[in-house]
């Protein structure tokens, strides 16, 4: 056996061996989807697709599931998960909205405006920002940002106006969005920078030859050329933001509540839960079959969104390869 390995390999066997590894990666994806879907099936069997909708108290439903025995009655599977789906969408959308201008402007700064030494520092800064672990972000959020919001930003009138509905502790929408935006900014910056660098210099020179200043050239030519990259950056950052679990579970307050825009500024400080943070919060209850099915249903929803977004991002990035952008 060893001798067979040591001798020169015929090409065909090498191709098959290496191809098997590649195929295994595909099978992993397929396996993931099948396993999660199979575990989530009871929720679909009992609720259809209406578990995505709203109705009743999600907290009560989850508690019921947690308290049922090994053979839960059909009623225990009742689930209407809209509050946390709404929470997920809200947090993700706001974080992407905050991160996009920051990422776009700082990419322009890095590639077009910064002096060379500064540029090198910026690359380091972005890489470091990308590699701060989410639990460290969560720690900073819960020990620094949350107390700050609690003491300085929430007014007493906001506290009293929400009495009985939600307790404002500082943990909630605003700090979550802020930290999440910082976490997804480096992804966007990396993708946008790659595309900016790849824009042919002649295009910029053409604009310059027409007599516009640097920023006009950036806005009229460069930014237009990299529009697909910007969309890809948004899509991939959305995928990352949707799935962030640990940080959100630490900073968002972890209460089944959906921030109500009707509350005005106070809604920024209201606590919430997202799909991913709910999974983390309840992962110990997985021995209860009904709750397990619920958590896997949430995981399936996340997996499905990640699937759609990744494929979308991949397809958007394809035309960029024309310009040798290896995003």
């Amino acid at each position: 056996m060893l001798a067979r390995l040591r001798n020169p390999w015929p090409d065909r066997r090498a191709e098959r061996t290496l191809g098997a590894a590649a195929l295994f990666a595909c099978l992993c994806v397929l396996g993931m989807i099948v396993l999660v879907a199979q575990r989530a099936w009871p929720i679909f069997a009992h609720n259809g697709l209406s578990w995505l909708g709203s109705g009743g108290s999600l907290k009560v439903q989850i508690e019921t599931m947690l308290n049922t025995s090994a053979n839960p009655p059909a009623s225990a599977y009742h689930l209407r998960a809209w509050p946390i789906i709404y929470g997920t969408l809200l947090v993700t959308a706001l974080a992407v909205l905050v991160a996009l201008p920051l990422a776009l402007l700082s990419s322009i700064f890095i590639v077009e405006l910064a002096p060379i030494p500064m540029r090198r520092t910026m690359v380091r800064v972005v890489r470091l920002l990308a590699s701060v672990p989410s639990v460290v972000w969560g720690l900073i959020g819960i020990l620094v940002l949350v107390p700050f919001v609690d003491q300085h930003l929430i007014t007493n009138s906001e506290r009293t106006s929400l009495q009985g509905t939600a307790q404002l502790t500082g943990a909630g929408l605003a700090p979550t969005v802020l930290v999440l935006a910082l976490m997804i900014t480096p992804i966007m910056v990396a993708l946008i920078c790659d595309a900016l660098v790849a824009v042919p210099a002649a295009w910029r020179e053409g604009a310059a030859a027409l007599g516009v200043n640097r920023l006009r050239a950036i806005r009229a030519v460069t930014l237009r050329a990299i529009r697909p990259a910007i969309v890809a950056a948004v899509v991939l950052a959305t995928a990352r933001a949707l799935g962030e679990a640990i940080m959100v579970s630490m900073v968002s307050g972890s209460v089944f509540f959906s921030p109500r825009p009707g509350d005005g500024l106070a809604s920024l400080f209201e606590p919430l839960r997202t799909l991913a943070s709910t999974i983390v919060d309840y992962h110990e209850g997985i021995s209860a079959p009904a709750l397990s099915a619920t958590l896997y249903a949430f995981a399936l929803l996340l997996l499905f969104s990640a699937f759609v977004l990744s494929i979308g991002g991949y397809l958007i990035k394809l035309p960029l390869r024309k310009y040798q952008v290896r995003a």
Partner: protein, 334 residues
């Protein structure tokens, strides 16, 4: 206006021409310029604030006694010990995950670039890896739980009371962690291979080498730096991940080896433990223990690892950046 001829890396000296002074610009252009500088500096300030704050807190709370003592159950904070076990857990987990991910990722990348037949299959493989890269870690953790609770994999993990398979062990967590490390390694190796000039392959073929011999003698040596970069990026993903550890490693206080009949060390791999990240999570106000000082100390040690890995990526990438410019420097953040 040679100002705008900006090749990455080598920019000609700036000459002052008409329109290059911000005073003559329209207000909106000037505002965007200021905003861009502001955004860049904001990122610098945020990173500096995070690093300095964690550094100050870390130096304040970290001590050799904390790093080198094992965690213990106790009522008072001075009885609960340090984080030696989580530290070792992080290292062990990294070793297992890299051992699984690196060969898989390198082989897939080699197949994709060097063989890549049929074409449609390469598309499928590439998008499959994109999907893995985009899958949230908590979902990967739950997939692992579903997988390793199957009786087929009972030999991998801890056996709970009554013979139930818990699906929690270093092997289980490491295998699932490898999915997180797979995409960066794959992308780094693939890009490296695509960057190898075709004439190197042609020269090898002209000498009568087979494809696999070319791969072994020419291509793999020439993408060594890419492999190193990819593995380093993968490692920094692994040590930063919390969700998989919390769900799949059992998150026990100490490394708990399982009884086993076979190889030495297998017991530890089959057993449960924790990592620095899960230690931070548990000791933060969100967790059960609630000892922020210990969380800060562990976060400081974790950040030191992260900084070291960042430096390593840069050191490895320096030789590469000379040849391929800016792209290589930014690559790997995603």
């Amino acid at each position: 206006m040679s100002t705008l001829v900006s090749q990455p890396g080598e920019r000609p000296a700036r000459t002052r021409g008409r329109g290059s002074s911000i005073r003559t610009w329209r207000l909106s252009d000037a505002l965007v310029l200021v905003a861009a500088w502001g955004a860049g500096l904001t990122l610098c300030v945020v990173v500096a604030a995070v690093v300095i704050y964690m550094g100050v807190r870390g130096v304040e709370y970290v001590s050799p006694a904390l790093v080198f003592s094992r965690p213990a159950a106790g009522l008072a904070q001075n009885q609960t010990g340090g984080f030696l076990d989580p530290l070792l857990g992080t290292l062990l987990l990294t070793a297992v995950a890299v051992a699984v991910a690196a060969p898989l990722a390198i082989c897939s990348a080699l197949w994709l670039v060097e063989y890549g037949r049929p074409r449609w299959l390469t598309r499928v493989v590439e998008s499959a890896i994109e999907i893995v890269a985009g899958t949230p870690d908590i979902v990967i953790a739950f997939v692992g739980l579903a997988l390793f609770q199957l009786h087929l994999f009972a030999w991998v993990s801890e056996v709970g009371e009554g013979g139930g398979v818990t699906g929690k062990s270093f092997l289980a967590a490491g295998t699932m962690m490898s999915l997180i490390a797979l995409p960066p390694i794959f992308v780094a190796v693939r890009n490296g291979l695509q960057g190898v000039p075709a004439h190197m392959r042609e020269a090898a073929f002209a000498l009568g080498k087979t494809r696999i011999a070319t791969i072994r003698r020419v291509l793999v040596p020439s993408v060594r730096t890419n492999i190193a970069t990819g593995v380093t990026l993968g490692v920094s993903r692994i040590i930063a991940d919390t969700a998989i550890v919390v769900v799949l490693l059992g998150d026990t206080l100490r490394i708990e080896p399982q009884a086993h009949g076979g190889l030495p060390g297998l017991g530890v791999l089959k057993g449960t433990g924790s990592s620095l990240t899960s230690y931070i999570y548990d000791n933060s106000p969100a967790g059960e223990a609630g000892a922020p000082q210990k969380a800060y100390a562990a976060a400081f040690v974790l950040l030191l690892f992260v900084l070291a890995l960042n430096l390593l990526v840069e050191r490895i990438g320096r030789a590469q950046a000379r040849s391929s410019g800016f792209v290589a420097a930014v690559e790997g953040i995603v």
